[in-house]
């Protein structure tokens, strides 16, 4: 991969980020609700409301507010939360860890299981295993996350007692070191699996279909004519070609994973960004909402950048462009 390619891709991120900033700023301000009223309460006097607006800079014209905000963001300052009175940076720093852990684990599980199931299914298309995986993934993809999450809690946490009901750690115990990690892992398992479920389903189907398509291609016939065994044909030739659409899909699913995490975090009381986003929206806390949306957007943009780079690594035709 050339340095020029990397530089060009990185440069492309800048206008994308600015676009996201501008659009979310406008959208957030289009949402009805006056932060001053929310802060001071319905009974506040007009003078008091005016004072709050002046303090927060809300009395100034929108373009001016935007310039101030953009300049702050450029310095890495996401502002002060209206409802909590704390810097948004601090709120995000505190909550982003659990969300990254949850989404990252779900991404890992779904990539691994999705590819594995797709690969095994494509080995014997329309065989028993393939039919089971296909049907299960259709159902898995169709089920809404909130329903699946509650059912999982009911079955695996309440009835079977295999997993804890909710939370990030066991708050009744003070644990350190390895014990702490295994406790987090124990709490993480069920929400991560539920979050991964629909992604596994999607990836398994895309991988299987892609593989079957690649197995019909001319270069696969060449590999067979060379005397390669069917496993070698599948693993050495078809799989890497079939991975191209999967890589693309993975990149675009990162955004969905984060939004899915909002629901899952609510069901499992997971102390991530999800609950902060929900609370900020309920309280019309524009500054917090903006900051959170920006962080998620940056995550998605960089996930896509990573996808592009990964794509170039898998496919030499992209690399040389």
């Amino acid at each position: 991969m050339s340095a020029g390619y990397l530089a060009r891709r990185l440069l492309g991120v800048v206008p994308a980020l600015f676009g996201v900033l501008a659009v979310t700023f406008v959208l957030v301000h289009a949402v009805p609700g006056d932060p001053a009223v929310l802060l001071a309460g319905e009974a506040a006097t007009p003078d008091r409301l005016e004072e709050i607006r002046r303090d927060l800079g809300l009395d100034r014209p929108l373009p001016q507010q935007f310039v101030t905000y953009a300049a702050n963001v450029a310095r890495g300052d996401l502002g002060v939360s209206i409802s909590q009175g704390r810097p948004v940076n601090a709120i995000i720093a505190e909550r982003i860890g659990p969300t990254l852990l949850l989404s990252g684990t779900a991404l890992g599980i779904s990539s691994f299981l999705g590819l594995l199931l797709g690969l095994v299914g494509a080995r014997r298309p329309y065989g028993r295993f393939d039919l089971v995986v296909n049907t299960a993934s259709l159902v898995g993809y169709a089920l809404p996350a909130f329903w699946l999450a509650q059912m999982a809690v009911l079955v695996f946490a309440v009835h079977l007692g295999w997993f804890p009901l909710l939370g990030y750690t066991d708050i009744r115990r003070e644990l350190t070191g390895f014990d702490h990690l295994s406790d987090v892992g124990y709490h993480l398992a069920l929400p991560a699996l539920v979050l991964a479920a629909s992604e596994v389903a999607l990836l398994a189907r895309v991988t299987r279909t892609g593989l079957l398509q690649e197995l019909g291609r001319d270069y696969v016939r060449t590999a067979r004519a060379k005397g390669a065994a069917e496993d070698e044909v599948l693993n050495n030739h078809a799989l890497r070609n079939a991975l191209l659409p999967v890589v693309t899909l993975l990149g675009t699913r990162v955004g969905f994973l984060v939004s899915g995490a909002v629901v899952i975090e609510a069901v499992f009381s997971w102390p991530g960004l999800g609950s902060v986003i929900v609370t900020a929206a309920q309280q019309a806390d524009r500054i917090t909402m903006l900051g959170l949306v920006l962080v998620v957007a940056v995550g998605v943009i960089f996930a896509n950048l990573l996808t592009d780079l990964l794509y170039g690594w898998v496919d030499p035709r992209v690399r040389h462009r």
Binding site: R221, T222, R224, A225, G227, A228, E232, N236, P316
Partner: protein, 352 residues
């Protein structure tokens, strides 16, 4: 190694059919031929005549199901039909190698060409990675790819069509096969590149005393290369014999039609239009009764041709055979301009 004088490849009554929802497609219907070392056998016919399916069934490359193959493919005295897959794999690529039609899609776009040549070496020999790579470079050199050592690290998309076909040939020749099956090896190439690739095939055959099964619909190529010709129509052999006999003394109306359809640059006749064979190839699910060519034939006599299937009978010597009730009429009618000169490779247009 086959016994002295024995054919390298002996195909007997080969059938290949596909079971589809619409019915059974008989793509190859009772094909027999022999191929000896140093020989080039050309299989000609229109698209859908069963040429490629014949080649694929020799190597056991047809997907089964839906394909069903029966008959005998005697390779060095051993029947390849029904041979267990692990045994068949030892034959594929090592003893019988294949070059496919479209070099654009027949190479894996994600692997370097060196790796793709080395792969076949690694599959059939005990050589190390290093040795296989050296062999790949040697093969690229042999098939005339300049700067082989450097180019081995390139990907297929960095090569031209002709160079890619050379890579395909390098893959096919890397394990010194006894038989090279070339399925329309030049159809996707420019005319000048065609000639180079054919020359390369010819040289290889002479150097290694192997045999070539050349599948093509380009009669110009056949005239330039083949010793024996097999003309296929609707899955059956309708004429076969030494190339000169089939060209100069065609005994089957279909062969005659193929020859007449050749575009000619030396044609002094007023119109230079192509003369296609009337009609279209039949559906291989519902093959016409009697002689399957009779609906398109200008020599037919319905009371005979639509009822009796003509046998592949000898005409003017044991080697030249044709499946036509009126073979003698055909040979006498053969137009003079078809006998004057055999079309050269350069005169023949690339396939459709």
């Amino acid at each position: 190694m086959e016994a002295p004088g024995q054919a390298l490849l002996s195909v007997r009554d080969l059938h290949a059919s596909f079971h589809t929802d619409a019915g059974v497609v008989k793509a190859v219907d009772g094909v027999s031929f022999d191929l000896r070392r140093g020989e080039v056998l050309a299989v000609v016919g229109e698209s859908g005549s069963g040429k490629s399916v014949t080649a694929m069934s020799l190597l056991g490359l047809l997907p089964s199901p839906p394909a069903r193959v029966s008959g005998q493919v005697l390779w060095k005295g051993r029947d390849l039909v029904g041979l267990a897959e692990p045994e068949m794999r030892k034959v594929r690529g090592a003893e019988i190698a294949m070059v496919f039609q479209d070099p654009m899609s027949s190479l894996n776009p994600l692997h370097t060409v060196g790796r793709q040549i080395a792969e076949v070496v690694r599959l059939h020999t005990t050589s190390s990675k290093r040795q296989a790579w050296e062999r790949a470079i040697e093969m690229m050199d042999l098939v005339g790819i300049p700067q082989a050592r450097r180019r081995a690290k390139s990907y297929p998309h960095e090569f031209s069509g002709g160079m890619r076909q050379r890579v395909m040939i390098a893959i096919a020749l890397a394990c010194d096969p006894d038989l090279l099956i070339a399925d329309e090896p030049t159809t996707a190439l420019d005319v000048t590149i065609q000639a180079q690739v054919l020359e390369l095939l010819q040289e290889t055959k002479e150097r290694t005393s192997s045999a070539i099964l050349l599948i093509t619909h380009d009669l110009g190529i056949v005239a330039g290369m083949a010793d024996e010709v097999l003309v296929m129509y609707a899955g059956k052999v309708v004429e076969r014999g030494p190339a000169r006999d089939v060209f100069y003394r065609s005994r089957h109306p279909y062969t005659l039609g193929l020859l007449a359809a050749l575009p000619r640059v030396d044609d002094e006749a007023a119109d230079n239009r192509l003369r296609p064979i009337e009609g279209t190839p039949p559906s291989l699910i519902h093959v016409p009764s009697g002689c399957s060519f009779h609906p398109r034939c200008s020599f037919r006599r319905l009371e005979t041709c639509s009822v009796d299937e003509p046998p592949l009978a000898a005409h003017g010597g044991e080697a030249h055979r044709a499946a036509c009730h009126f073979a003698e009429d055909v040979v006498s009618v053969a137009p003079a301009d078809l006998q004057r000169s055999v079309p050269s490779a350069a005169a023949a247009a690339p396939g459709p």
